[in-house]
């Protein structure tokens, strides 16, 4: 009984992996923004990033 469930589950996992590869899924987090005006091309400063400014200092030891 467990084996049948597992076979089904495994087939599901593999098909999800294949589908993901095909559709271009990735593991990185990226924010999507919609409706960026064409004017940004000429005036890049008008675009405000989703992130705040990065003031983070990652120092070494």
């Amino acid at each position: 009984m467990f084996r049948k469930l597992y076979l089904l589950y495994g087939a599901l996992v593999l098909s999800t992996a294949a589908f993901g590869q095909y559709r271009g899924w990735s593991l990185d987090t990226v924010n999507q923004v919609k409706n960026v005006p064409k004017s940004v091309r000429d005036n890049p400063g008008s675009y405000r990033s989703v992130y705040g400014f990065y003031h983070h200092y990652t120092g070494g030891k």
């Binding site: 084996r3 495994g10 996992v13 271009g24 990735s26 200092y57």
Partner: protein
Amino acid sequence: MSTGAPPLSGPPKPQARALNCPKCGAAITLRSFGQAVTVVCSSCRCILDAKDPNLAILQQFEIKTSDVKPLIPLGTRGKLRGTDYEVTGFQRRSVMVDGITYYWHEYVLFNPYKGIRYLSEYNGHWNDISICKTLPSADGGGATYLGEAYKHFQSADANTDFVLGEFPWQVRVGEKAGVTDYVHPPRVLSSEKLEKEVTWSIGEYMYGREIWDSFKLPGDPPEAMGVYENQPSPVATNVTGMWVAFAAFAVFLLLLMGVFDMRAKKEPVLQQTYRFDRAEVKGEPSFVSDEFALTGRTSTVEVKTFAPVSNHWIYLNYALINQDTGQAWDFGREVSYYYGHDSDGSWTEGKQNDTVVIPSVPAGHYYLRIEPEADPSLPSIPYTVEIIRDVPVFGIYGIAFLALLVPVVIICFRAYTFERSRWSESDHPPVQLSSGSGDDE
């Protein structure tokens, strides 16, 4: 056809015999039609000779524990293996192992055509038992019966503590028999040695619920505690099967990996070196790259950043913007690299490059908006940005692999702990896993 036969009244139809106890006069009914050898008077606790018309007294016993009541009352009928049986006898037996006394109960079941079977019950675990017709062969560690190999589980002396009803043998309270159990779940092969005679019986595990349904008993069966010697494992049946399935899946995963890796375009779309110069970037640090086209089906876009940082960091605020649809992917990446020397030797932290994969980007015309930032102590630095269209993402395979592995490991572990639990009650308990004495760390 034998018309000449005299009108026969035939042998009288066997009936349950009603008699009186010779000691106390209580009514006794013999239900097993002549197959009982001994019968117990429950009123005065006498074991009587069932074959003697006068019911000679064989033994009188006292019960040491109070109120031993059979879970299936004597006289109840139930269906086992398609045949109706009536409970005609009951006994409580015990063994002493390592100073602890364990009790279990046995029921005698009777059918006038099929004969006698037994049910045993211990801590909510039941067994359907019958006497072996063919001889098993035993040798120390195991036994073989009807082509199946059984492992030795336990040998002990079983004491008869209490009896009720009718028995097809000379039962006595206080008598001790040498009992050895061999298991091959769900079956158990038992040998019982009383004086010189050895009797073999074969039992098959039953669940309390099956017994309750069979005998139509009210309420619920007692809960089964722990794992019984021949209790079938709910998981072990397919551990090998699952590992085989897992191996097959893993191979398939590798194939998938290979195929997608080959088919990925990995097309370089942009490679540009820019310079971050704090002095020049007074007003607006952000700028846009050249336009480029992303082709093919909706797929991944890899953005690589290289910068020769040395104990500094730079941070790029990226936006991949589709010129036509206005859709953008916004992400920030840091490139930092530090190194030094301390009492343990030389160390490094970080890398001089960074990679990110943007998911599901449709084909179209795009440009990259870049807003750089740098470590205040860094006046200027060049950096290279590379964009590659349609790369495979190996992390997905990693997740899939784990997803496939985890259930098999869990099942394997549960089967393992179940078997450990089973054998912990035997004469051959599993070795303790915690490191014993004498292990050097």
